[in-house]
Symmetry: C2
Subunit: 239 residues, 2 copies
């Protein structure tokens, strides 16, 4: 079970279409080795990010080596530096990358909020479906949120604050008439985000867990959010 090295023997296969005069309409083969230099570089970079995200499934970022990532991405270790200065820097970039599904989620939740009458139910459903379709991103965010790399922790924290403040704005819209201070709104939004993040981790740890199935977890999240909403109905910011 020695080295699984490959690529060293497989010589770079250049694009064979040399005669065609139409540069716009390429055959594109099957999306293999094509594009400008910049495009190729971007693809490798993306590959490094993807591969790292896949490795996060079972381990923490701090225990993943540069060599391992390069190996899985099909490049030589030193070529890694053409894209990132270190694994830590890659980790910070990965935060942006992983926030994309979450941002898309909040947009979709807002849409559901308009259509559906039950805001909480639709929000939880959207959460569930997004976690199911982007597990790696959510796992990365929840695992590294309090993880061992300070720079990554900081980056996630910043993004999550942004997320919370967006939710705060939504809550403000729903509580006009009640005398909520923005500080209290933010506090309530933070509690909701916490509940949702804990739900995310529960969803990701299902499978190997006892009886908890997905529906049970989402039901609980729904009840927790409903409990908070109920509390907000009874709250007075300045008593």
């Amino acid at each position: 079970m020695g080295s699984v090295t490959f690529g060293s023997g497989a010589v770079h296969r250049r694009t064979l279409a040399v005669v065609s005069e139409t540069p716009a309409a390429r055959p594109r083969s099957h999306g293999e080795r094509s594009g400008s230099r910049a495009e190729r570089k971007e693809r490798t970079r993306q590959n490094l990010l993807d591969v790292t995200l896949a490795l996060i499934a079972s381990r923490s970022l701090a225990s993943i080596s540069l060599r391992e990532v390069a190996r899985d991405a099909g490049i030589v270790p030193t070529a890694f530096y053409r894209h990132f200065e270190s694994m830590d820097e890659l980790g910070v970039e990965l935060v942006d990358e992983s926030m994309r599904p979450l941002r898309q989620m909040i947009r979709e939740a807002r849409r559901g909020q308009a259509a559906h009458s039950d805001i909480i139910k639709s929000t939880v459903d959207v959460l569930g479906s997004h976690v199911r379709s982007h597990p790696a991103q959510f796992r990365f965010l929840t695992r590294e949120r309090y993880g061992g790399i300070a720079a990554v922790r900081r980056a996630i924290d910043t993004e999550l604050r942004l997320f919370t403040s967006e939710l705060t704005v939504d809550l403000a819209r729903l509580t006009t008439g009640f005398d909520w201070t923005s500080e209290d709104l933010e506090m309530a939004a933070d509690l909701m985000v916490q509940a949702m993040l804990a739900t995310v981790m529960n969803l990701l740890e299902v499978d190997q867990r006892r009886v908890d199935d997905e529906r049970t977890i989402l039901d609980r999240a729904e009840r927790q959010l409903r409990l908070i909403a109920l509390g907000m109905g009874a709250w007075r910011s300045k008593p």
Copy 2:
């Protein structure tokens, strides 16, 4: 900046008091190298745990090496195996170790609950003081709760469930008369534990953070728990 190896030259100094006939009243020197073999072993074992806990402050368990722990504990790497089979096993033991302050906390909170009139305030205060006096343990639990080592994650999860179910019992006592199902009580307790754990991490990350000072964080936690309590007042389990 080569090897900082030491201990190899410092020969084991045996206890010098050989003449004294009283085996009970030892001079004890200054608590250095004394005790039975079993005691010495236990002390080394504890040292390994302590040293690891200290290293967790800035990194994750998965990135801490056996050699590093052994070095800091003042023993040779191979002697590590006299105490633990691997770093993973040490991690699982560390969970028990770290739960002790938390268990003591809940006991103290219950006492405060009896004396003080405001349960929430006293609970949050107890939380704050325990985090301040046992930062390493709390950091370990929160950092490795969703960390990279499955066995440790599992162990923490189990302990936290126990903690939650203890809180559930307390809540049941406070809500007699209201028709709460035990499932809903547990859901509410879980939300409270989540809020408290998030508070713990916020407390531990203060210092290097912006303006958030300790009091601000505890105030927020207090308001979050109060919000939940308010929600519970308005809740009906089977509507």
